[in-house]
């Protein structure tokens, strides 16, 4: 019995096993920390929340511009953004989301065109190259996730250019922000007038052009007298009126 108690080879095995156990537990704890650190922060969820507010703020500017182009109410954008700001705080009350905005109130150059904004809105119509534009800068804070000062600018723009007028055809180009040609416009999106007389449209065809990328050819039911006005409302409801010559 005394020999068994004095035997030291057995103790070595026990100590070795204990060390292995400590290593297993340490690796387990480290892995636990690593996994929980990345899993506890739902980044994608926050990004989607920010994306939701950013996307709908953009939609609101476009919607306000569409409204402005039909009513010419210069306060339209400001009124809508004030309501949106209040509603965002109420909808995301648990996340402490707050949105502030600043409307453009000076001259900016948009795609080579000088636009002098007033309350974030402006239009220049009855010219061969006409446009309607809106510009607002937003600042988003979501206190619950520690996000402050997330800034984004929304520009809504629609340009209508009358390129050529022949006997009963009008060639135009319609472009949105970043000179992107607007596709998918049909007969219902256009109106042609001579003075106060509406000229009926037979068809609207779109085709590729080397210089403008996409052009529309409006075929009218009668011969066109100048000056002729062309009105377009895009899929967002934004209206522009151009006149030729």
């Amino acid at each position: 019995m005394k020999k068994v108690l004095r035997d030291k080879r057995g103790q070595f095995v026990i100590i070795a096993v204990l060390m292995i156990a400590v290593m297993i537990i340490s690796i387990g704890a480290l892995m636990h920390r690593a996994v929980t650190y990345y899993k506890h922060e739902p980044w994608e969820e926050y990004l989607a929340l920010i994306g939701n507010i950013e996307l709908n703020s953009k939609r609101l500017v476009e919607l306000s511009l569409a409204n402005y182009s039909h009513t010419l109410n210069q306060k339209n954008l400001k009124i809508n953004l004030e309501r949106w700001k209040a509603d965002i705080s109420n909808i995301y009350v648990g996340r402490d989301a707050s949105l502030s905005y600043e409307l453009a109130n000076r001259s900016y150059t948009v795609d080579g065109t000088s636009v002098k904004y007033l309350f974030g809105l402006n239009y220049s119509w009855f010219k061969p190259k006409s446009f309607t534009a809106a510009n607002a800068t937003f600042m988003l804070n979501v206190t619950a996730i520690g996000l402050t000062g997330y800034k984004f600018t929304v520009l809504a723009f629609l340009n209508l250019t009358i390129l050529n007028v022949t006997t009963n055809n009008i060639t135009i180009t319609v472009k949105a922000e970043d000179k992107m040609p607007v596709a998918g416009l049909e007969k219902e999106n256009f109106q042609v007038k001579f003075g106060n007389t509406v000229i009926s449209i037979v068809s609207v065809k779109s085709c590729y052009d080397n210089k403008e990328a996409l052009i529309y050819i409006i075929e009218c039911a009668q011969n066109i007298s100048t000056p002729v006005t062309v009105e377009v409302s895009d899929l967002r409801g934004i209206k522009v009126v151009a006149q030729y010559p």
Binding site: I25, L60, E62
Partner: protein, 155 residues
Amino acid sequence: MALERVSLIANKGQMRVIEVILASFVIVFALSFANILAVTPTSSKYEATELEKMGYNTLYDLDKQGLLADFVYNKQWDKLQAALRVLLPLEVHFNLTIYYLNGTEVNEAPIFYGDRETFLNSKNVASVTYCLCGYSTIGSAIYDPRILVLQLVRG
């Protein structure tokens, strides 16, 4: 003398057996403890967060394509339900309710997929709130927000 030698060898062997048993206990204890700490990707602890992310991304994708506002403001509930069924995994059950700003429900018909019992019994029901500012067409453009509350549960 020979008998004493046999006895000593026998004692040594018993000690080895005891050592192995003790060592096995230590290893089993360590593995069990490490297993408690381990958090697998499918852990129920994160299930609600995963579902929330999934729900947000689904609604955001639909909104970015311009489909969500079209379905909601034109009250095309069947199309909205079909779109959610296509975008969400088959085992994820959902219940979407749309509200006006004053809290009144917009959708008279339920936009629902799955088993109602699952929503009542599951411990991990995720809820996602998404808002829409309004809808514009050629004729009209009105600021009229809608609040979408999407509940998700894995069936």
